[in-house]
């Protein structure tokens, strides 16, 4: 694939792996989530240029909106868990553990 495609594929993958394998703090997971969304935004922006149609030009704006809401929600969870458990360590979220 072209260099452009490689750039946001690799950004997506690396961020996804970072989301999965950062084990200590919740905030690092949220940061990786943001970078996933960023790479998706870049990919969606490139798409109308490649297909020479103007209709999908709307998509990046929608994604941006959703990502902002999502970031806000994530931060709210972070603040809530810090208020209850005293830190944002991931292993505090263990209500489901048997």
């Amino acid at each position: 694939m072209s260099l452009l495609h490689l750039s946001f594929y690799s950004a997506f993958t690396l961020s996804g792996l970072g989301l999965a394998f950062h084990r200590t703090h919740l905030i690092s997971a949220l940061l990786c989530l943001e970078s996933i969304i960023l790479s998706i935004y870049v990919a969606l922006s490139i798409w109308p240029i490649e297909s020479q149609t103007t209709t999908p030009t709307l998509m990046p704006i929608l994604i941006l909106t959703f990502s902002a809401c999502e970031a806000g929600t994530g931060l709210a969870i972070l603040v809530a868990s810090t208020r209850t458990h005293g830190s944002d360590h991931l292993h505090n979220l263990n209500l489901l553990q048997c």
Binding site: M1, Y9, F12, T13, G16, L17, L19, A20, F21, R23, A29, L90, H91, L93, N94, L95, L96, Q97, C98
Partner: protein, 608 residues
């Protein structure tokens, strides 16, 4: 009257006479078997068996009588058919004559035995099995006789069952015979599947037979007739009482293997591989046994090795395509070998249990009749002209010299002939001549008709049997009549060389030269190292590999790896893996997230 009917009826009469002592005690309670009754039964059966033999000699009539048919499966019938041909009509009187003499002797020899009735009963059972084997026309009946003689041999060798060596020897006999039985069953299976019959007529009618069933038959003969490779049981079988050795292991049972090959001879005729195998095996057996007999000190073991050597000679005759000569040798050999055993039994009892020839000597004056007959027997064994052994042995060696075969077999057989003379003469000289080396008080008394009559009867047979049989029966193949003088006298020269060698060896005894240990002496006295090497090594290896295969491989693999335990192990491993996923921690979910991403991306890449 019609000869066929007479032959069939008289043979059946003989067999019925033999079965009488077994049936009558079952039918009436008053009838008790005793040794005298059984001996008289055998005598009457012998006289009755002279009838079919005379009919055969007079008219050349052979017959096959079928009495019953076992309809086994649809296409495969097993009849109970008895074949009265040259071999069985001639064998019957000879076997019964020898058995009669042996039983009469056994009444004296085993007189102090508490279970003498059972002993005679066993001998009678053995005889019936042997005669079944001889007259069988199909392999099934032959196999019944074969197994019967094997079982009775086991029971009779281990007669004195308190003695550990006797039990070991009996077990050895059964094991070695069993290995031969594998060969017999192989050929029976091949015959049943390829020719759909077990009748010997049908099996021998085809011109060419593949080598596989013949190898089976040769293996069977090797086991039963103690050829080299499956031979150690025959010297060990001397643990049994002397009448047992005389009957089973000299005249009748050990010739069963050779008899099988004689019966199935037409199958062997055109197969050069099988014939060469018989020839080389026989030559090797005869030389090996003769070599081992040179340094034996037990009188019965010398005679046992002599039997083994003569069996090798019979096998050589079969390998030369001369089955009638092998049968002639069986017939003449029965007489003098049984007589040698009876003489040795008389000597042993008269010396109060002494079997070592180094502790005998000068018996010619103490036991004149026995030792004279011992001399006659040894001379017949050596092939002295015009005694019984000459007609068969000399013919076989002439046949060897005038046929197209490998020189090695010829050389071995001639060497074995020389050795035969050597050990026979050594035994005679050490037992009969020289100064007495026995204990000072020996109750030597041979004035019992129970000893003298059988031995002299058999001596008469040893002298006359060869002449009578060759005069009255026509050979099936013409013997070569013209040959150079050196070829004709080869057997005599070999025997003379053996005698010279024996006389030289005797000097060592008289001049008290101590034999130094050398390789040849060690080879001969340890029976060729065969017993030492094979008897520990082979069973250990076999049993170990059996344990590996049966227990370790099959049990462990089926029960531990593939069966219940293996299943349980698989489940446990899978469960352990999935338990980490079921902990409910965030990282598991994040891990699945990463996995899904990776799978999707790789699928996309592969599609593109």
């Amino acid at each position: 009257m019609e000869p066929t009917l007479l032959i069939n009826t008289s043979t059946l009469t003989t067999l019925m006479i033999l079965i009488t002592p077994i049936l009558l005690p079952l039918l009436s309670k008053k009838f008790k078997n005793s040794p005298t009754i059984i001996t008289h039964t055998i005598k009457i059966a012998f006289l009755a068996s002279l009838a079919p033999m005379t009919l055969f000699l007079h008219s050349g009539m052979e017959s096959i009588a079928t009495y019953w048919e076992w309809k086994f499966i649809m296409n495969f019938k097993i009849p109970l058919s008895l074949k009265m041909d040259q071999y069985s009509t001639m064998f019957f009187p000879i076997a019964l004559f020898v058995t009669w003499s042996i039983l009469q002797f056994a009444m004296w020899y085993m007189a102090s035995e508490p279970h003498i009735d059972k002993f005679f009963f066993y001998l009678l059972m053995f005889l019936i099995a042997m005669l079944t084997l001889t007259t069988a026309n199909n392999m099934f009946l032959l196999f019944i006789g074969w197994e019967g003689v094997g079982i009775m041999s086991f029971l009779l060798i281990g007669w004195w069952q308190g003695r550990a060596e006797a039990n070991t020897a009996a077990l050895q006999a059964v094991l070695y015979n069993r290995i031969g039985d594998i060969g017999l069953i192989l050929s029976m299976a091949w015959l049943a599947s390829t020719m759909n019959t077990w009748e010997i007529q049908q099996a021998t009618s085809s011109a060419q037979t593949p080598t596989l069933p013949l190898l089976g038959l040769i293996l069977a003969a090797t086991g039963k007739s103690a050829q080299f490779g499956l031979h150690p049981w025959l010297p060990a079988a001397m643990e049994g009482p002397t009448p047992v050795s005389a009957l089973l292991h000299s005249s009748t049972m050990v010739v069963a293997g050779i008899f099988l090959l004689i019966r199935t001879h037409p199958m062997l005729t055109n197969n050069q591989t099988a014939l060469s195998l018989c020839l080389c095996l026989g030559a090797l057996s005869t030389l090996f046994a003769a070599t081992c007999a040179l340094t034996q000190n037990d009188i019965k073991k010398i005679i046992a090795f002599s039997t083994s050597s003569q069996l090798g000679l019979m096998m050589v005759a079969i390998g030369l395509n001369l089955p009638h000569l092998a049968f002639l040798h069986i017939s003449t050999h029965a007489f003098f070998k049984a007589m040698l055993f009876l003489c040795s039994g008389s000597i042993i009892h008269n010396l109060n249990g002494e079997q070592d020839i180094r502790k005998m000597g000068g018996l010619q004056k103490l036991l004149p009749t026995t030792t004279s007959c011992l001399t006659i027997g040894n001379l017949a064994l050596m092939g002295t002209p015009f005694l019984a052994g000459f007609y068969s042995k000399d013919s076989i060696i002439e046949g060897l010299n005038t046929s197209y075969l490998n020189t090695w077999a010829l050389l071995l057989t001639l060497l074995a002939t020389a050795f035969t003379a050597t050990y026979s003469l050594r035994m005679t000289l050490l037992v009969q001549t020289g100064f007495t080396r026995t204990a000072t008080i020996s109750p030597t008394n041979e004035n019992n008709p129970a000893i003298i009559n059988p031995i002299t009867r058999l001596a008469l047979g040893s002298i006359l049997a060869g002449l009578l049989i060759t005069s009255y029966t026509t050979p099936t193949k013409t013997l070569p009549m013209t040959m150079p003088m050196s070829t004709k006298t080869t057997a005599i020269i070999a025997t003379a060389l053996g005698i010279a060698l024996a006389l030289e060896l005797m000097n060592m005894t008289h001049m008290l030269t101590q034999p130094k240990q050398n390789t040849y002496l060690n080879f001969s006295s340890t029976l060729g190292f065969f017993n030492l090497l094979i008897h520990r090594h082979t069973p250990t290896k076999l049993l170990n590999s059996g344990q590996k295969i049966a227990t370790h491989l099959i049990d462990l693999s089926w029960y531990k790896k593939m069966g219940p335990e293996g299943l349980a192990n698989l489940q446990t491993t899978a469960t352990k893996t999935t338990t980490t996923i079921h902990t409910g921690l965030i990282k598991t979910y994040l891990g699945t997230f990463a996995l899904s991403i990776l799978i999707t991306l790789s699928a996309q890449t592969l599609n593109n």
